[in-house]
Amino acid sequence: MVTLTRTTVAGREKVRGRRHRGESLTKVLFVLPAVVAMVALFGYPVVKNLLMSLQDYGLKTFFTGVAPWVGLKNYSTVVTDKLFSDAMLNTALFTVGSIAFQFAIGLGLALFFHKKFPLSGLLRSLLLLPWLLPLIVSSATWRSILEQDNGILNRTLMKLHLIGDPVPWLNSPSVALIAVIGVNIWIGIPFNVTLLYSGLAEIPDELYEAGQLDGATGWRSFWYITWPNLRAVASVLLMLGVVYTIKVLDIILGLTGGGPANATQTLATQSYEKSFIDFKFGQGAALANILIVISFVFAIFYLRSTRRAIDE
């Protein structure tokens, strides 16, 4: 262990002054690798996508090295594609549906686990498991559960006489999106529970005791004490939810691949298909950039709601 040596204040200052120049260089060296990495992994891709979206960047570009500038043509192509409005709508439904239910169920479970009872902590940490699984593993598992003919869900529902015929969860354009949203809700619940629970734990007990004296119990105490104190965590959580859900790809590709009949196609899966299936990188980049703009609109709200947290 290092012991504090007795040095006079003046002596310390002298040592510091001598070191000062060397240290500001060290400081730069400390941060430099991370700056380089962040620029290479985030800065460069954003600029590159912006440029690609203005170019006819296709398969032949890789052979000829030529990507002619086409102005906004890629944007007009993808926006006027008849799939675009569907993809927009699906993205909106997927995002809003996922987040609304993740949050509502997450809040319910967080309130439940906030009660003191034996094993509460253990059960709550086991609940995290779905969040830790690779998304493609969850997709594969749910695909087996939702399988139309022999999947366990249909077999159970039929045994209970809740449905007469097997529901084509992932094979029917009218149900597939609901099924995909359902799976994504399942994946998101643990994270919501964890954050909301930590938000609940921060609310001082005195508030409830004082509330009780004023006659605030049950719903009233939730409405007047819990909810206002949870709002900061909730707003961060909701914005995070949007930013993450809007770009989800693994779950949809694993469950339906965007099908059937494009029923589960979102902006993210469209962008992937344009770039990596059709090798129209310009169009894929244009779609991705639209996705970034939408994320940023929410990011502004997000940054405003977290600014206080960062400053602390």
Binding site: V15, L129, L132, I136, S144, I145, A288, L291
Partner: protein, 266 residues
């Protein structure tokens, strides 16, 4: 009495929530072919699914392991000094740096994949393990910086001060004083970097074009590609791919909540 009732309800909630995880294990132990018609319990468990999974996906599991370990090492090596600097030095650049990290999280993975594909094509990094390690650092580095910085902020300044009065430079102070104390947060950041990289699907899908380098997530996806033939092999692979998550949950419970909350700032 009421508390016991709560525990019972809690267990029921958990059973419902974890049913798919149970089903994955159950299906992996069922005989091949009739997996989906199988019952709720693997009454005649067979390991043929696992045998097949290890045969066909064993190499991919090793690939995933190497990539994830590489991501942990590279992410921590880059993030640790940066997190230390961001926690110790007062400068307006600190808040600019943190803002940049937050904004970076708004960027969809497909944007990174698009750009890296074209760059990797030129650099010859497609279908390579280093290529995937670097790509996976895009989730590891920002997360590690945030986790490590928030821990290092709580260190008393006198600690580093003392070392420096004794003549240690910033680098030595970091290595011999800060790092040993930050062990838990390094473990948290490392575990999550591992998990992010292990779960990566997007980069595996886009930055590999032929079979040479194939992480197990991509292996599962290819199983799912057409009509699934052998659900027990698919589910056995799924179970094997879930092992890091399960080990993480059991071994590192106390770090996970911290990680999840750190992830909120992410």
């Amino acid at each position: 009495m009421r508390r016991t009732a709560y525990t019972v309800i809690g267990v029921l909630i958990l059973c419902v929530m974890l049913f798919p995880v149970y089903w994955m294990v159950n299906a992996s132990l069922q005989p091949s072919g009739n997996t989906l018609t199988a019952g709720f319990l693997p009454l005649n468990p067979t390991f043929s699914g696992y045998r097949r999974a290890l045969d066909e996906q064993g190499g991919n599991l090793v690939t995933s392991m190497i990539i994830a370990a590489g991501t942990v090492v590279l992410s921590l090596a880059i993030a640790t000094p940066c997190a230390y600097a961001l926690s110790q030095f007062r400068s307006r650049w600190v808040s600019i740096g943190l803002l940049a990290i937050l904004i970076s999280q708004m960027i969809p993975g497909i944007v990174i994949a698009n750009a890296l594909y074209t760059a990797y094509e030129r650099l010859g990094l497609l279908n390579s393990i280093p290529g995937l390690i670097v790509a996976n650092c895009s989730s590891g580095i920002p997360f590690a910086i945030l986790i490590l910085r928030s821990f290092m902020l709580s260190l008393p300044p006198s600690l580093v001060e003392a070392a420096r009065v004794d003549g240690a430079g910033l680098f030595r102070a970091l290595v011999s004083i800060v790092l040993p104390i930050s062990k838990n947060s390094l473990i948290t950041a490392g575990l999550f970097s591992f998990l992010f990289s292990w779960s990566d699907f997007l980069f595996a899908l886009t930055l590999t074009t032929k079979g040479g380098v194939r992480p197990v997530t991509l292996g599962i996806y290819q199983y799912l590609g057409t009509q699934v033939q052998n659900w027990n092999a698919v589910m056995a692979t799924a179970v094997l791919s879930a092992v890091p998550a399960i080990v993480l949950l059991i071994a590192a419970q106390k770090y996970i909540a911290a990680g999840a909350i750190g992830g909120a700032v992410k």
